[in-house]
Amino acid sequence: MGATVPLQVTVNGEAHASEVPARMLLVHYLRDELGLTGTHVGCDTSNCGACTCLVDGESAKTCTILAVQCDGAEITTIEGMAQADGTLHPLQEGFWAEHGLQCGYCTPGMIMAAADLLARRTAEGRVGTVSEEEVRNGLEGNLCRCTGYHNIVKAVQAAAEASRRITV
């Protein structure tokens, strides 16, 4: 695996200090070293978005980032989305309620990309409002072969609506 490099990251609120091979992909670090297998690999070319996580609050395709590029970063994976008591994140609740998933393989990446999308709306002062077009364009980097996206759009809009109700 070649030379190792020290790496310090915080993943889902927990600090990790590791020595990792310089060429190890972030997705392999998360899956194989930390056992966070909720993040999936779908295409190897950053087209499908199944590996999407939040790195310092922004969505990133972890199959094309080296783990060492993330030294000092705060990373959130799908395992970090629900609260400690098991309360689901509004996006998780939205995907469940609206049947926004079938095989579930793209779902973690979809949820993480959607989290970034909704966070951007919030930063623009538009909490809870996201149009169908904004969701469709915002999730263009995430592929789903099962759902035809119809219910994914509804799921994200439902989550936005729920966030608004929580915030207001």
Binding site: C48, Q102, C103, G104
Partner: protein, 825 residues
């Protein structure tokens, strides 16, 4: 089966949230790549960069010496395998020339990606590195890529077969096709290319094989765990009881995992050789090259009709591109489509001629719809072409030819019995939603917009399809010729505390069996779906099963589960009657218990009944077996035939040729709904699969057999931004084929979709003088058709890859007949 009262549909019919989802939305599901075993090794496959070559030498020494590599194997090492990879279709009386296919090649490679060597090592990084160090010397051989070129037998894919024509299959019904066409007022004909596509599940294939103490366990991302067990036993000479196959969470299939995969056999073999578990996870590049492709036919169709629009005859001459080898069902795919060649129409005379042809490409096999999308495409596109020729409305032509509701069960000229249908009601419902008058006004306004004209079009597809793949007698070895009958199994087990485990032989990968089957069982056992766990995909836990494909899970697997639960319910009634000192006939099932009819307060809960059956035998009727458990195998009497009308509206930018699907109305009929939310989900996904083929997706090989579309960079799956939201509705016509009256819905959207899109595009372009364009309707292709129609197409035409278009592809666009009188070559 034991007959009982019709159970109340308290849960059936409801859009219950899925029981599967909590683990999937929290990242707690376990797909095959999420598993790791102690001592596990990793595998990588060395693949051919040549499309056709003799393998002169394989030098594994450098790779074998790579730190961390445990072994490198070639085809010769695996000569102790007892059988080649299977092709499971042997139609009685039809010769099918089947090329032998071994997991690793023996002397020749015949497509890009053919497996030459297997590298096993400590980590996925190690084997990926070492695979690049296996040196293979090839002597390139001539390559044939185009299916009609391959028919000439000038270049042979398999020298030993003496021909590329692997099989011919003909079926006719209702009379002589040539005579019927000759007697028709009008005949329209068309060459239709149904191009090659990929299944492209977002989870690629993968497995872990562990051979330990004489027992082989394989975790595989598969749709057919029981079939794999059967084949591993045969291939490796292991007694079937010592083989266990587990399909963990499976990240999509679409037919792509209805396969006995070379790589999985390699891992099983290597695990036995090395005494360690071996994992192989397919990369996306491998998936595009060596996970089976779908479609890939050149179809010559002729349709005859009377001047007033009654179809008199329909002929399809199908040239199927098989690829270089056969997968499990490769040569059978067009035949499956042929069974619904008449679609929704009373066509008196039909004929299907199929020629399967080998080429230096990866093999084609079942992808969502498998033969039925191709046939439906031919039929529904040709009906629109006929309407154009007759100057009639395409809807009216359909209406005039529909099989009428009172004609069911309807026997087609092929001897297939359609179970039930009410086609006009579904079409009228779709028309009501669409508002044709409003549409035509809108179309004219957009077309004539002086600032930025948009070419808007509308297309229809009124389909029926054959699914619920069973019955065993019809499809099995002595019938249609599949290697095994297609039935389905169920085991329903009530536990002593009254919760329930259901084992099904159906093996889902996103369809929602755990929810739908729980709804069916809960209604029958007077309990809640939340305490009914549905277990699938493990050959060690349930009875023999046939898996999930062909939209068969509910109408075969779900009915099996229902019947098993009904048998238990019959036993429960006796136990309750005994304890209440009542008549069995007076016991009815309610939402939370079995009660005396008319006295909802009375009765016993499922837990109380289970207490009698498992804990206090004195409360059981004299002589009754203890326990509450039922196993059964269900084999239906007929297929099921869902149907419906799909309507597509497209906008075409005349400047760029870009086709946007802006509206989709789907009215489907799959019988009574168990969970309407799941039905809608299947329709949405199925339609987008069809939109993908019609506009975006194409597996492309160049003239040397190199795969051009090797990743998702080049193979364009539709994204959320490429498709609209859907307007779905349903009609409900019960099937007499099963006691639930249900039909399949998993493939319907894909089957219906592509012709609706092509018909919509032609509707948008007809006034420009364009009568037909082949899929995929990419901007380049549509723009070129427009340029030609507008007299500006003088320069050399480009292919999708920017090279000049080969001669034989001429005539794929534009107007007028495209094949000579008398049909196909």
């Amino acid at each position: 089966m034991t007959t009982i009262d019709v159970p109340p549909t308290l849960h059936v019919g409801q859009s219950l949230r899925r029981k599967e989802d909590p683990r999937l939305i929290t990242g707690r599901a376990t797909y095959v790549d999420d598993l790791a075993l102690p001592g596990m090794l990793y595998a990588a496959v060395v693949r051919s960069p040549e499309a056709h070559a003799k393998v002169l030498a394989i030098d594994t020494s450098k790779a074998a010496a790579h730190p961390g590599v445990k072994a490198v194997f070639t085809g010769e090492d695996m000569s102790d395998l007892l059988a080649p990879l299977p092709m499971a279709w042997a139609p009685p009386g039809v010769e099918v020339k089947t090329p032998e296919r071994w997991p690793l090649v023996r002397g020749f490679v015949r497509h890009v990606g053919d497996a030459v060597a297997l590298v096993i090592g400590d980590s996925k990084y190690v084997v990926a590195d070492a695979a690049g160090e296996v040196h293979v010397e090839y002597e390139p051989l001539p390559v044939v890529v185009d299916v009609e070129e391959a028919l000439k037998d000038e270049v042979l894919v398999h020298e030993s077969l003496g021909t590329n024509k692997a099989h011919e299959w003909s079926m006719g019904g209702g009379g002589d096709i040539e005579a019927a066409l000759a007697a028709s007022d009008v005949v329209v004909q068309r060459r239709i290319v149904n191009h090659r596509t990929a299944g492209a599940a977002i989870e690629t294939r993968g497995c872990i094989a562990e051979f330990r103490a004489g027992q082989l366990t394989v975790w595989s991302s598969t749709q057919v765990p029981h079939l794999l067990r059967l084949f591993y036993a045969v291939q490796m000479g292991i007694s079937e009881d010592k083989v266990r196959v587990i399909a963990p969470e499976v990240g999509g299939g679409f037919g792509g995992k209805l396969q006995v995969c070379a790589e999985e056999t390699m891992c099983a073999w290597a695990s036995r050789r090395l005494g360690r578990p071996v994992k192989w996870i397919e990369s996306r590049s491998e998936n595009m090259a060596v996970s089976h492709h779908g479609r890939d036919q050149v179809d010559y169709v002729r349709m005859g009709a009377t001047r007033d629009g009654r179809i008199t005859a329909f002929h399809a001459n199908i040239i199927q591109d098989l690829g270089a080898y056969f997968g499990l069902l490769t040569p059978m795919i067009p035949e499956l489509g042929a069974f619904v060649m008449t679609g929704c129409y009373a066509i008196p005379v039909v004929q299907t001629d199929i020629t399967g042809v080998l080429t230096n490409k990866f093999f084609t096999d079942a992808i969502r719809g498998a033969g039925r999308p191709e046939m439906t495409h031919m039929l529904e596109v040709t009906i629109d072409q006929l309407a154009q020729e007759l100057g009639m409305d395409a809807i009216e032509v359909r209406r005039r030819n529909f099989i009428q509701p009172d004609q069911f069960p309807y026997e087609t000229p092929y001897g297939i019995t359609y179970d039930s249908g009410n086609y006009e009601v579904a079409m009228d419902r779709a028309l009501e939603i669409v508002d044709m008058e409003g549409f035509r006004a809108e179309q004219a306004a957009l077309r004539n917009d002086p600032t930025r004209p948009i070419l808007r079009g509308i297309g229809f597809s009124t389909y029926t399809e054959i699914c619920g793949l069973a019955p065993s007698r019809a499809v099995g070895p002595s019938g249609f010729g599949l290697g095994i009958g297609l039935y389905e199994s169920a085991l329903v087990r009530v536990h002593p505390t009254g919760s329930v485990t259901v084992f099904t032989g159906s093996s889902p990968h996103g369809q929602g069996h755990e929810t739908g089957f729980a709804q069916i069982v809960a209604d029958r056992l007077g309990t809640d779906p939340s305490v009914v766990e549905v277990v699938h995909g493990d050959t060690a836990t349930g009875p023999m099963g046939l898996g999930t494909y062909g939209s068969r899970s509910l109408s075969i697997g779900g009915v099996a589960v229902a019947h098993a639960a009904e048998k238990i319910a019959a036993k429960i009634r006796q136990i309750v009657a005994h304890n209440l000192e009542a008549d069995v006939a007076d016991i009815e099932v309610r939402d939370d218990k079995f009660s005396l009819r008319g006295d909802p307060q009375s009765g016993m809960t499922l837990a109380e009944v289970a207490g009698c059956a498992y804990i206090d035998a004195t409360k059981m009727p004299e002589g009754m077996e203890l326990g509450l458990e039922q196993t059964l195998i269900y084999d239906p009497s007929n297929f099921v035939f869902p149907f419906g009308t799909h309507v597509c509206v497209v906008d075409i930018d005349p400047e760029t040729g870009k086709v946007d699907v802006v509206r989709w109305v789907a009215v489907d009929d799959c019988g009574p709904a168990v969970n309407p939310m799941l039905i809608d989900g299947q329709v949405h996904g199925g339609v987008v699969h069809g939109i993908g083929q019609a506009i975006f997706e194409q597996v492309v090989y160049d003239e040397r057999g190199q795969l051009v579309t090797g990743t998702f960079v080049d193979y364009a799956l539709p994204t959320a931004a490429d498709v609209p939201s859907f307007e779905t509705d349903r009609t409900e016509t019960k099937s007499p084929s099963n006691s639930l009256g249900v039909k399949g819905i998993g493939e319907a959207g894909t089957i219906a979709a592509t012709p609706a899109i092509v018909n919509a595009v032609i509707d948008a372009l007809r006034h420009e003088g364009i009568s037909y364009i082949d899929m995929p309707l990419t901007p380049l292709r549509v723009w070129q058709a427009l340029e030609e129609a507008r007299g500006r197409g003088d320069g050399p035409r480009a292919t999708e890859q920017g090279r000049p278009l080969p001669e034989q592809a001429e005539g794929s666009a534009g107007s007028g007949p495209t094949i000579p009188e008398g049909g196909a070559p």
